[in-house]
């Protein structure tokens, strides 16, 4: 499978990456080179093989169902969460207007 300019433009839009027409032109052959190379995976017989889900077997733990089970991630840290925001206002993340 190979990609054309329109496909790359669509992927870039899905990935929320603004690309110029010139960048787009350069990316098409680069991505096609990589995609042609990974294509060889199709040769591998994977009949009856399960896709990998966990490389080292492990059980998913659940934390205790209480407020602030871990004080560091549990909450009440609003100012720390907002400290690096480009536009924090009134205790919220500020973004451009989304509702007309």
């Amino acid at each position: 499978m190979s990609v054309d300019t329109a496909t790359v433009a669509k992927i870039a839009s899905l990935a929320r990456l603004k690309v110029s027409a010139g960048e787009l032109e350069a990316m098409v052959p680069e991505l096609n080179g990589i995609l042609a190379w990974v294509e060889q995976l199709g040769e591998v017989d994977v009949t009856g093989v399960e896709p990998m889900t966990a490389v080292i077997p492990n059980t998913l733990r659940l934390r205790a169902d209480v407020i602030n089970a871990d004080p560091l991630t549990g909450g009440d840290v609003r100012d720390a969460v907002l400290a690096n925001a480009p536009a924090a206002e009134h205790g919220f993340f500020g973004v451009p207007k989304v509702i007309e």
Partner: protein
């Protein structure tokens, strides 16, 4: 007396404990060495005061007769992928420039708790995506090594932990943290004549490490010898409830368990790694490694890892797929850069921010990842790659029925010059051909120096072990180290 900056982690720890020198003297010596090495561009920010503060604390504890931590008085470098409270953490990207974490990563906190001090945040490939440290927004790291041709070609320190490798090789720090997603500890270690170990996936907490590909990312130490790696890893590893993939296992006493006697051990040599056109010097160093391990008492057996050639293409589907998801968080809203063109709406702001904040290689991988996860292509690419990954892990499982550790080269070549491979992404990816399989299988793997090639550049040998058998890997590394007699160091030109 020996120059303090030439000492190993073990020697500094022991010297501080014995009072041969103070922790402050050590920190001052390394701070000065770091300040004088700006030409290498190994650090994104330096933190001399943090190193001194930690040292003063250690000296105070010693004076008061308190017990000292396992790394008391040892100043280290911290890869700028670990969140450090109050100190800018960028992942070498523009999008995180100025980001100042409000919390400390689990691994770095463990190091500080053990008495280590921070010399600074080390440069790396942007979001750890690269094998030469040429994708950093903050400029290339220059390896302290040069070819012995008398020229001054700037050499790659490897990547992505290129600041870590360059700094250790140049004696700017005795040890540093690295992270390894597809060889990012081992390949730079090999390129710069140092040691580095990636432990079993889940040994070190990923909490507070900027995520690249979460099913592969694993932190580990880099240092000048095997013992120092063992000391560092003992401190860095351990269960962390804040990382859902953290292994709930006790941390073995790896340093105390070091033993280079390989009697009764079987070393597997994977025939698929002896590829056509393998660099002659790399092939010779591999043969040397085989002879050294035999001399240490090991039995050498040929093994087969039949899916080896598919590891790299599988990796370049899985890692970008995970990266495209992980990097969705950089949106100009919560932290980092925001690019808000006049009259832009929210969607425009996302796209403009990400276009301005990510470098070319990061964008390339986000696009590949988005494509292979998109509707209609998911099964053909992503599911197929995950099935191949199962087969690669199975190859190792079967091989370990016949051997205890596997020996192979770390990289197919010695270091290359900066710019020599950067025009061709595929040529760059191929440099990780021997490192990626162990990453896909989550196995502990280490690189130790083997010697110099005909150009006077270091070559590394890689040891891969069974899950959880870091001790076996370290021990085989020690057996090689004892026989390789690697004492070469880069001549100071910076």
């Amino acid at each position: 007396m020996t120059n303090i900056t030439d000492l190993t982690v073990a020697a500094i720890r022991d010297g501080v404990a014995a009072g041969t020198f103070s922790a402050v003297e050590v920190a001052e010596a390394f701070n000065a060495r770091v300040a004088a090495a700006q030409a290498l561009n190994a650090f994104i920010v330096t933190t001399p005061d943090a190193a001194l503060d930690a040292a003063r604390k250690v000296d105070g504890m010693r004076a008061a007769g308190n017990a000292l931590g396992k790394l008391a008085g040892v100043p280290i470098g911290m890869k700028d992928l670990f969140a450090t409270r109050g100190v800018q953490t960028t992942a070498a990207s523009h999008i995180l420039e100025g980001f100042t974490p409000q919390y400390e990563s689990t691994v770095s906190q463990k190091l500080w708790d053990a008495g280590a001090g921070m010399l600074g945040k080390l440069n790396l490939d942007q979001f750890a995506m690269g094998s030469s440290n040429e994708t950093s927004y903050f400029g290339n790291v220059i390896s302290p090594w040069r070819r012995s041709d008398g020229g001054n070609t700037a050499m790659a320190p490897g990547g992505s932990s290129g600041g870590s490798s360059a700094a250790i090789a140049a004696r700017l720090c005795p040890a540093a943290t690295g992270t390894d997603t597809g060889g990012s500890i081992r390949q730079p270690a090999a390129f710069t004549g140092i040691s580095g170990i990636k432990p079993t996936y889940g040994r070190c907490s990923r909490w507070g490490i900027v995520a690249f590909a979460s099913s592969l990312d694993q932190a580990g130490p880099m240092a000048r010898d095997v013992r120092d790696c063992a000391i560092m890893l003992e401190v860095m590893a351990g269960f962390d409830p804040k990382d859902s993939t953290s292994l709930d296992l006790a941390v073995p006493a790896w340093e105390a368990g070091l033993n280079g006697d390989m009697k009764g051990k079987k070393v597997g040599i994977p025939k698929e790694y002896r590829v056509d056109g393998l660099d002659a010097d790399v092939a010779k160093s591999w043969d040397d490694g085989i002879a050294w391990l035999k001399d240490a008492g090991a039995e050498i057996v040929e093994i087969s890892l039949p899916h080896t050639k598919y590891a790299l293409p599988a990796y370049y589907i899985i890692a970008p797929a995970e990266a495209s998801s992980n990097l969705a968080r950089y949106d100009g809203v919560r932290y980092g850069l925001r690019d808000l063109p006049d009259g832009a709406n929210l969607q425009d702001m996302y796209a403009a921010t990400r276009a301005a904040g990510f470098g070319a290689e990061v964008k390339r991988r986000i696009l590949i990842g988005t494509y292979v996860l998109s509707a209609g292509f998911y099964d053909a690419y992503y599911t197929q790659a995950q099935k191949v990954r199962t087969l690669i892990a199975r190859d190792f499982e079967l091989a370990f029925q016949h051997c205890d550790v596997i020996l192979a080269p770390t990289a197919p070549t010695a270091a290359f010059g900066l710019g020599e491979k950067s025009a061709d992404p595929l040529a760059m990816y191929l440099n990780d051909v021997f490192a990626v399989p162990a990453s896909l299988a989550g196995l502990p793997a280490m690189s130790v120096p083997a010697g110099l090639n005909r150009e006077g550049l270091p070559l590394g040998l890689q040891i891969v072990g069974r899950p959880f058998d870091e001790q076996g890997v370290l021990n085989a590394g020690l057996a090689i180290e004892a026989r390789a007699g690697f004492t070469a160091k880069p001549e100071q030109w910076w």
